[in-house]
């Protein structure tokens, strides 16, 4: 993508008074970002949750008290001093599995968001810019996918593609492509009519330059609010697929799959197997969800007032 004078971050400023606006401009982008964090509790808490989980997942080998697939613990013991979150039926430490268990869902969540973003945004640019029959056809296909339950689509695709990280990523990202497509296409339609595009056209810019230099960069800020929500949703969906046995094969620690393993012991009252991995999923998707909310507020400060 061609460089642009102002990064999308610069557009995140709320409609401030002119004095505040001037002061804001002089500070570096990082300083502005941190200042915004302080002002937006939602964003800050979200970032904190995500940071905690990210650090935990990255440092898993140092943080986990035991090997997550080591089967030498007691069998099905509730939380105690040695095994803070208890042990499972295969004599493994639940805490260690919880710490390691974020690797798959987080990887799948990020990669599928990236996939969906790339494909959806590209198609949205092209469709919105080209217009005409191509646009109508693409929009129709996207609407059809969008109207169908994403989870069911992901289940069917994941089941057909087989087990592995890539099939999961494809299955989950597929569902989110239409969301990016719709957002970007709508933006392109609006921006296409603006004067600076008109001017570029009058100057005889080739279409590639018009699209990628003048139009595309201006669509990115609206996409930014979608990304964290997408990641949160993708992580929950990945957990759901793993829960249904469509994730990676055992004994890979995975929150969703560990929950489904714990399910059969739940009715006997062994609550710890299901509870803890689930809380981790909630924490991380809550984090991303709050970042998404924060960004939406930021982009559109009046939105909360209706």
């Amino acid at each position: 993508m061609a460089p642009q004078k102002e990064s999308p971050l610069a557009e995140w400023k709320p409609a401030a008074t002119s004095a505040a606006f001037v002061i804001e401009r002089r500070r570096s982008m990082t300083a502005r970002f941190l200042a915004q964090l302080r002002h937006r509790k939602m964003l800050a808490i979200g970032f904190f949750f995500v940071l905690v989980i990210a650090v935990m997942t990255l440092l898993a080998p140092w943080l986990a008290p035991f090997d997550p697939i080591d089967q030498r613990q007691a069998r099905l013991v509730g939380p105690n001093a040695t095994n803070l979150m208890g042990t499972d039926a295969l004599q493994r430490d639940v805490l260690s599995r919880v710490i390691y268990g974020g690797r798959i869902p987080l990887t799948v969540g990020f990669l599928s968001a990236l996939f969906a973003l790339t494909v959806g945004v590209l198609l949205g640019w092209i469709s919105g810019f080209a217009g005409g029959t191509l646009d109508r056809a693409l929009a129709l296909v996207m609407d059809a996918i969008y109207s169908f339950p994403g989870l069911i689509l992901a289940i069917v695709i994941a089941a057909m593609l087989g087990r592995g990280v890539l099939p999961l990523v494809i299955a989950i990202s597929f569902v989110y492509v239409p969301t990016y497509f719709r957002v970007v296409r709508g933006q392109v339609f609006q921006i296409k009519e603006r004067e600076f595009v008109e001017a570029a056209r009058a100057l005889g810019s080739p279409w590639m330059r018009m699209l990628f230099r003048h139009i595309a960069p201006n669509t990115m800020s609206s996409v930014l609010a979608v990304v964290p929500i997408n990641i949160a949703d993708a992580i929950v969906t990945a957990a759901g697929l793993a829960f249904l046995g469509l994730g990676l094969p055992p004994p890979t620690p995975d929150w969703g799959f560990d929950i489904s393993n714990g399910q059969q012991y739940l009715l006997a009252g062994d609550w710890w197997l299901v509870t803890f991995p689930g809380l981790m999923i909630i924490l991380v998707s809550l984090g991303f969800g709050m970042i998404g909310e924060g960004i939406s507020d930021w982009l559109n400060p009046k939105r909360r007032r209706g």
Partner: protein
């Protein structure tokens, strides 16, 4: 009306799509059915011809479309009866769950939305917003399991699996609508009605709670907008009581966009229903789909997906029709 015209196109796109995923992806359907077992090649060839798998792909596609047009989705290898029959048998369970979950989501969503809109930026508003994000972040299967744990295992308040107690399941035939609550009522069989309701509590609460967050947020925004309009100010300055202003003047106008969202949400509801049915062992379409996916049985997977697409289109069409009830300006 455009939506009505769009529906067949949408379904055609989805149907084609499912065909591509299921048939063109790596893996031979017949091999998948037979598993790793070694079968004599002549038997394999005969079965391929029987299933029409020996023909070129476009012929298979046309055959498949022709079958769908005639309501023929093939045969399930698990139940050994036609997929259409299977789907019609499983559908009432999903429908009953969906209806009760929508009731829960509507009550909690609309209620919390109205509460938040009347107290913008006060404590209740923030609490409700947090609840909304929470419902978005919570995996539905986990919520279902927690419900089972708390209300089933610990408190023993409600049954945790199935639609009826085993004994009732054997003696009672739901042959009118297939919805146990409705059939129980119609036949005047109170124990069945109560038993069905008790089984519905946890699954519909699980599904409904997850959906209520989104519903609440849409209600809040739309009601806030309506409360800001001139007609609301007029109603207030006439000296109408606040209740009347909110519920009769503002809420009624906010209902149309809320209903649109409810229609869109129906797809999310059916997706959530799959996981809910899996957790609560609820014998509906979602459970059926998952069982068939376990054995890679193609015909029922395709059939169920298409049926769900049809169902969603029907619901969104009905919601379009309902606009005219809420808003007399809309005419069909």
């Amino acid at each position: 009306m455009t939506r009505l015209l769009l529906t067949p196109v949408t379904i055609l796109v989805l149907v084609t799509f499912v065909f591509v995923i299921v048939r063109v992806m790596p893996g031979d359907p017949l091999q998948a059915i037979l598993g790793g077992r070694s079968i004599p090649p002549e038997v394999l060839a005969r079965d391929r011809a029987l299933l029409g798998l020996d023909k070129p792909l476009y012929v298979q596609y046309l055959n498949y479309l022709w079958g769908i047009l005639h309501g023929n989705f093939g045969v399930s290898l698990i139940t050994t009866q036609s997929v259409t029959k299977d789907i019609l048998q499983k559908f009432p369970a999903t429908l009953e769950l969906a209806i009760f979950a929508t009731l829960v989501a509507g009550l909690i969503g609309l209620g919390s939305g109205v509460m938040a809109a009347r107290r913008v930026d006060r404590f209740a508003d923030h609490a409700i917003r947090f609840f909304n994000i929470g419902t978005f972040a919570t995996p539905i299967f986990w919520l279902g399991l927690m419900m089972q744990l708390v209300f089933g295992v610990w408190l023993h308040w409600f049954p945790v699996t199935g639609r009826l107690n085993i004994l009732n399941l054997i003696t009672f035939k739901a042959d009118i609508t297939g919805l146990y609550t409705v059939d129980g009522l119609v036949k005047g069989n109170w124990p069945i009605f109560i038993d069905a309701l008790r089984h519905l509590v946890l699954p519909s609460l699980t599904l409904g709670l997850i959906l209520s967050g989104f519903m609440g947020r849409v209600s809040r925004i739309n009601l806030m907008e309506a409360l800001d309009q001139d007609y609301t100010r007029t109603a207030r300055s006439k000296g109408l009581p606040e209740r009347t202003v909110v519920y009769k003047h503002a809420l009624r106008n906010a209902l149309i966009p809320i209903m649109t969202v409810l229609g869109l949400q129906f797809a999310i509801l059916l997706g959530g229903a799959v996981l809910t049915e899996s957790v609560f062992n609820w014998p509906g379409l979602g459970k059926y789909l998952l069982d068939e996916i376990q054995v890679r049985d193609y015909a029922p997977i395709q059939g169920t997906v298409i049926f769900i697409a049809l169902f969603i289109s029907t619901v969104s069409f009905l919601i379009d029709l309902m606009y005219s009830l809420v808003d007399p300006r809309v005419k069909y």
